[in-house]
Symmetry: C2
Subunit: 365 residues, 2 copies
């Protein structure tokens, strides 16, 4: 892919060559993202590198989550080990949606069993207008981690990622996880100019961070909009979707699949499908076959086993996997995944079996 | 209404006369529930009696929540005070969805800022099969509270309520609030017989408890299925909906509106509309005008201002109220409400203003 200038409201990004080679490009994961015929249903799992793995828990006795996510060597080790252990069709970079905030000089921590905590939440418009510019050179450790992972993955495609702006904004404005998004919604409704400015700043960060991951070798990008389902259709359409369209428009020239994922977004599927994303990741609430009817044939779908199935024993998990494959295996634009991340209580052998079942399922021609 | 026997899987309920008189029956709330023309959009608020009220907080310095909810006189005081303070078109009984569990001898507590805690969660099939029969005579304080409230309300209709079986089951199985419903889903998938038995027991309890409230004077019934949105469409359709249909079928002879409410149930709207409920309560995520398209003209809709609007200042709240009324005021089968309960941080004067705005909005003929 040639270098390409990509314009997002006057900001220019200089994208370098995407690495990856023909083995990645002809992988069943990328083929399914593009809706091309392929041999078996591809499968990977959100949070496939994480606390359910004994090897990861062993590492965590020596390093904090952020220490792991800031070391290129450890990023690559953790990223690649999940693929080796599970025999899945894609790797996802071991990182966190908060990590690019390092490039904005925002101080945060990730607390066990709590989640991200932001030291000084952005509550007033002045907090937002005073944000320093994004400096991606503070995130070289991520891009080195991408390059090292790609090297070790030897042909298995690597998914780079970022949090989507609303979900990031919710942490920045609330200061941590929230059930109501009270402060974020108040900012959005009462200070639309400041909210818009915050979204724009985060959009620029997301685009540059994702582009840099692709430049370093990521073969696809996923945007996690985990909490956007808390918004009404109208708020999503008017206040969020325009920003998502700009992001995907800016990333399109990279030529990699663009996956857009949210939780509890069943009321937003039609709008999310208009965002410019090329793959939509859905949770378990909506049947994928019904979602296919809503989004049409030109967008790939990813999902959507209820992660609680993994904890409910062999009968439940096999029934859940089979029901999804019965409905979706013949769809060339379909990637098997969970509807959310792997629960930390999951038995790794259950996840191995799920990956194997997906690969063994006869894919109708 | 004559006494009527009502059959639910062989159980018989003897319904007495519903009280209420013509003033209640011609109220705009009941007319809207039935889709009949009326003068103004009716309005009430879920959790309109609660901690946001100075009078309620004063009572809570002397009584626990459960002490209030177990005293007929205090139930009536709290129920009626909310209507007086807000000038709304319906009262909702001051109680809790856990209260009828007194009739099953299940021990629980309601903890401030936590929610319901069940002393001995029902995890094994044997726990469920060993449940004692429901004894509604242990709940006379509720029905006396209903009768006292109706007397004091002098023509304002009173809504009785119960938790829907899945939501109740989630507390009974998890032992408290949950984000994942891990144990409930595991029971549902792995022990479908035990889960079915639990739902049946809860259905019978809900029917009898609701019928007794109507007999004591409640003019409508609401079933709160707050957490059922965590289920997939398929699980809802096969494992929950049949029970809901039985409940509404059993309650139908009472001749009162049957309201069915859930959070994050936007993927279940079409199924919930087939439950036999006569009014569907929706959260803010789905536009009511779009829901109308899904459910058709023969079911009333209730909702759906985002409760966070109430905390976001006058501009946000007025914009939110106006947008809903612009879309729904001409619909004779529409009742204004929030999309969830009143947040405890709400300024009572804001809620008073919202009620007044709804009443002042010109209702197109």
């Amino acid at each position: 892919m040639p270098d390409k200038d990509c314009n997002l409201d006057g900001l220019c990004y200089n994208f370098g060559d995407a690495k990856g080679g023909s083995q990645v490009n002809t992988s069943r994961f990328l083929k399914a993202c593009r809706g091309e015929p392929h041999d078996q249903v591809p499968v990977w799992f959100m949070r496939q590198a994480g606390r359910y793995q004994p090897s990861y828990r062993a590492l965590r006795t020596r390093y904090t989550m952020l220490e792991l996510a800031r070391s290129p060597r450890l990023i690559a080790d953790v990223t690649v080990e999940a693929v080796r252990m599970l025999d899945v069709d894609a790797a996802i970079l071991f990182s966190d949606i908060m990590i690019p905030l390092d490039g904005l000089g925002i101080r945060y921590d990730i607390r066990e069993n709590v989640g991200p905590i932001v030291e000084s939440p952005l509550r007033r418009p002045a907090d937002i207008h005073g944000m320093p510019p994004f400096q991606s050179d503070r995130l070289e450790f991520v891009y080195e981690g991408v390059a090292l992972s790609v090297e070790k993955l030897a042909g298995v495609p690597l998914i780079g990622f970022a949090g989507a702006p609303f979900t990031l904004a919710s942490y920045l404005v609330e200061g941590g996880p929230s059930r109501t998004y009270q402060e974020t919604k108040a900012l959005m409704w009462n200070h639309p100019g400041a909210f818009y400015a915050l979204m724009e700043r985060l959009c620029a960060m997301v685009v540059e961070h994702c582009a840099n991951q692709v430049k370093a070798g990521a073969a696809a990008i996923q945007l996690f909009d985990s909490w956007v389902g808390a918004l009404s259709q109208e708020d999503y359409r008017t206040l969020i979707l325009p920003h998502m369209r700009k992001i995907f428009e800016a990333l399109k020239p990279l030529g990699v699949p663009l996956i857009y994922f949210g939780i509890g977004t069943q009321h937003l599927i039609a709008e999310m499908a208009r965002s410019g994303a090329t793959v939509l990741g859905l949770d378990w609430r909506t049947a994928l076959s019904q979602a296919r009817g809503v989004v049409g044939p030109s967008i790939a779908l990813m999902g959507n086993l209820d992660p609680q199935c993994l904890l409910a024993g062999p009968v439940a998990v096999q029934a859940g996997v089979t029901a999804i494959l019965d409905a979706m295996a013949r769809d060339d634009a379909y990637i098997f995944n969970l509807g959310h991340g792997v629960p930390k209580e999951t038995d790794p052998t259950v996840l191995q079996k799920v990956a194997a079942w997906v690969h063994q399922y006869p894919k109708p021609g």
